[in-house]
């Protein structure tokens, strides 16, 4: 994927980079005000993907959340819920203040894993890993059966692709020729308690998806221009092959002391460390724009 192909999209890419920077900023802010643990590591690895989806790729309208023609998004890695809530809030679905003020509290609609009943703006209740892709297959089958042309997009963590149900769904998607289904994998190469390849041999990872009959797109999951390119490369929804976008990412991306650090699978930030985290985020942005 070359930048050349997206010459006309420099502004779009710059806009999305601003959004994802603000999204990370808000995530850290919440991690500093909420007293319980936030899955900040996997939130930060998914932040650019959720940005490109909610602010570029998905055809959704915050003012019309039940429109049958909308794209469906399934957050299979449900523990990144707060990253999705904030990405959606920045798109106008929810109020960010509502999230940061009530997150995790009794009777809040915003908690550790998304709940469709309490928060109708999300498409699907998830949290138990390995469940999202089968549900997305069902949604994609339904769309095709009804002759609708919207897409179903599902974000998985690489760790959860250890679950057999993911591969059962992968097989079903190809068997049913679901070209309207796109999976994104946040390949941050960390599970909760170990680095992925230490315990589970995921590699050769793209080959596994290809062997199940999926078209595979590989991107740097923190390079907005590549993420935009992946969205632009989605096949027509009437095609017969599902697509997976494997996003190479870094757990904790943007905050140096959280990056690739097992300790920061989840946690909470005190005042001094919140300041340190925000400084790290800001300096990482300067570094990257040089």
């Amino acid at each position: 994927m070359t930048d050349l192909a997206h010459d006309g999209k420099r502004d779009t890419v710059a806009r999305l980079e601003d959004v994802s920077f603000e999204l990370r900023h808000k995530l850290l802010e919440l991690c500093g005000t909420y007293e319980g643990a936030v899955h900040i590591g996997g939130d930060l690895s998914a932040a650019d993907i959720l940005t490109v989806l909610f602010h570029y790729g998905l055809h959704v309208d915050p003012a019309d959340i039940t429109n049958p023609a909308r794209d469906r998004f399934v957050l299979s890695k449900g523990h990144a819920a707060v990253c999705m809530y904030i990405a959606m809030a920045m798109r106008g679905f929810f109020s960010y203040e509502g999230i940061v003020q009530t997150y995790g509290l009794l009777d809040s609609a915003y908690g550790m894993h998304p709940c469709k009943v309490q928060l109708p703006g999300v498409e699907c209740s998830t949290g138990s890993l390995g469940h999202g892709l089968p549900i997305a297959v069902g949604m994609a089958l339904s769309a095709r059966g009804r002759g609708e042309t919207h897409r179903v997009v599902c974000l998985l963590g690489d760790g959860e692709t250890g679950e057999g149900s993911v591969w059962e769904a992968a097989m079903a998607a190809r068997s049913n020729e679901l070209g309207n289904l796109v999976a994104f994998v946040d390949r941050n190469r960390q599970l909760m308690t170990s680095f992925a390849e230490e315990r589970v041999a995921f590699e050769p990872y793209p080959d596994k998806w290809a062997a199940f009959g999926w078209d595979v797109i590989m991107v740097d999951g923190h390079d907005m221009s590549q993420l935009v390119g992946a969205v632009d490369a989605f096949p027509a929804t009437g095609s017969d092959r599902p697509t997976v976008v494997i996003c190479e990412t870094v757990k904790g991306k943007g905050v140096d002391f959280m990056e690739r650090n097992l300790a920061w699978h989840a946690g909470s930030l005190g005042a001094a460390d919140l300041e340190r985290a925000i400084a790290a985020l800001e300096s990482s942005r300067v570094r990257e724009s040089v």
Partner: protein
């Protein structure tokens, strides 16, 4: 303002499960420990016996299946994880690969009840109903961290499968002094004597039942508390004895669906034995998928918190009196 804390602190923390398994690993060379990426408390065992430790990643079904294979070959596998996933996703493996051949696989895990603030995907609220339904399965729910070690020790010589339910573990307080009660699987513990009514309970809410009994003692009520930490096989004789000795006034308190858990098992015993009560109060989770909140807030919200326990016990004592 919150303090900084990380998952890494949980990773490095010692736990009763971790240290007991490490101790038993030395004693039983056939002991294996398996986990689907929930190995935070198993570090000691993992580092001491790396050849008998297996983290399969996020894959509960294969974790239990492998445990079955190990047990067929004479090993003693302990599967440690989060109960919502072990009790439901791996249920058929537990039933057909462990219980059916009656293998000595132990399943131990956390997140039994409305604990941990993860929302309903992360609360095991029907696990005891599911596990009690399985032929050959022994089912326990433990509230006292020291008891966890004792049960694990006893389990090493058990011939069939065992389920051990915990809440979150680290927040549970020590209920009993060392040697205060003889801990034997299948025998309920009289955690507090009394003759006006009995509260039957298990797991993390035993502490709440004791607190309720303390409050009621201020009004001169002597409420018995039974820690029925073994749900299966259930201590039938103790249930019948409590009916006789506490005027047939029962309260059942559990962090589990109010129907399908301990209350249902006690009701079965009473019906089967023809025992009639004066009152029977069930305190547990109603038919809801609970939302977010801290453990105590959720228990209050869904009607089985401390105040509700005190009120229900008063009702039980007053009924028909």
């Amino acid at each position: 303002m919150p303090e900084t804390f990380t998952f890494g602190e949980i990773l490095s923390a010692r736990s009763v499960i971790g240290s007991t398994l490490a101790e038993l690993g030395a004693q039983y060379p056939e002991l294996w420990v398996l986990t689907p990426d929930i190995g935070a408390t198993l570090v000691e065992f993992r580092d001491t016996f790396p050849d008998r430790f297996l983290d399969v990643g996020l894959a509960e079904q294969v974790c239990v299946g492998i445990a079955s294979g190990l047990a067929y070959d004479g090993n003693i596998p302990v599967v440690s994880g989060m109960l919502p996933f072990l009790s439901m996703r791996a249920l058929e493996q537990v039933r057909s690969d462990v219980c059916y051949p009656n293998l000595p696989v132990k399943i131990i895990g956390t997140h039994g009840g409305l604990v941990g603030n993860g929302g309903s995907t992360h609360y095991a609220v029907e696990d005891l109903a599911l596990m009690c339904a399985l032929t050959n399965m022994t089912v326990t729910s433990i509230g006292d961290p020291l008891m966890v070690g004792e049960i694990l020790r006893q389990s090493m010589t058990m011939t069939g499968p065992l389920y051990i339910r915990l809440a979150v573990g680290k927040k549970d307080m020590v209920l009993y002094g060392p040697g205060e009660h003889k801990v034997r699987i299948g025998t309920g513990i009289v955690a507090r004597p009394g003759t006006d009514a009995t509260i039957f309970t298990h797991g993390t809410v035993v502490a709440q039942a004791l607190q309720a009994a303390n409050e009621l003692a201020k009004d001169g009520r002597a409420v018995r508390v039974i820690d029925m930490f073994t749900l299966k096989p259930i201590d039938e004789e103790l249930i019948v004895r409590c009916a006789l000795e506490t005027d047939g006034r029962f309260v059942v308190l559990e962090d589990h669906l109010a129907y399908g858990g301990l209350a249902s098992r006690i009701a079965d015993v009473l019906a089967d034995r023809g025992v009639r009560l004066n009152s029977f109060e069930r305190l547990g989770i109603p038919q809801v998928y609970a939302g977010f909140g801290e453990d105590e807030q959720l228990r209050d919200k869904y009607g089985y918190g401390l105040a509700a326990t005190i009120a229900a016990t008063r009702r039980a004592i007053a009924a028909g009196a």
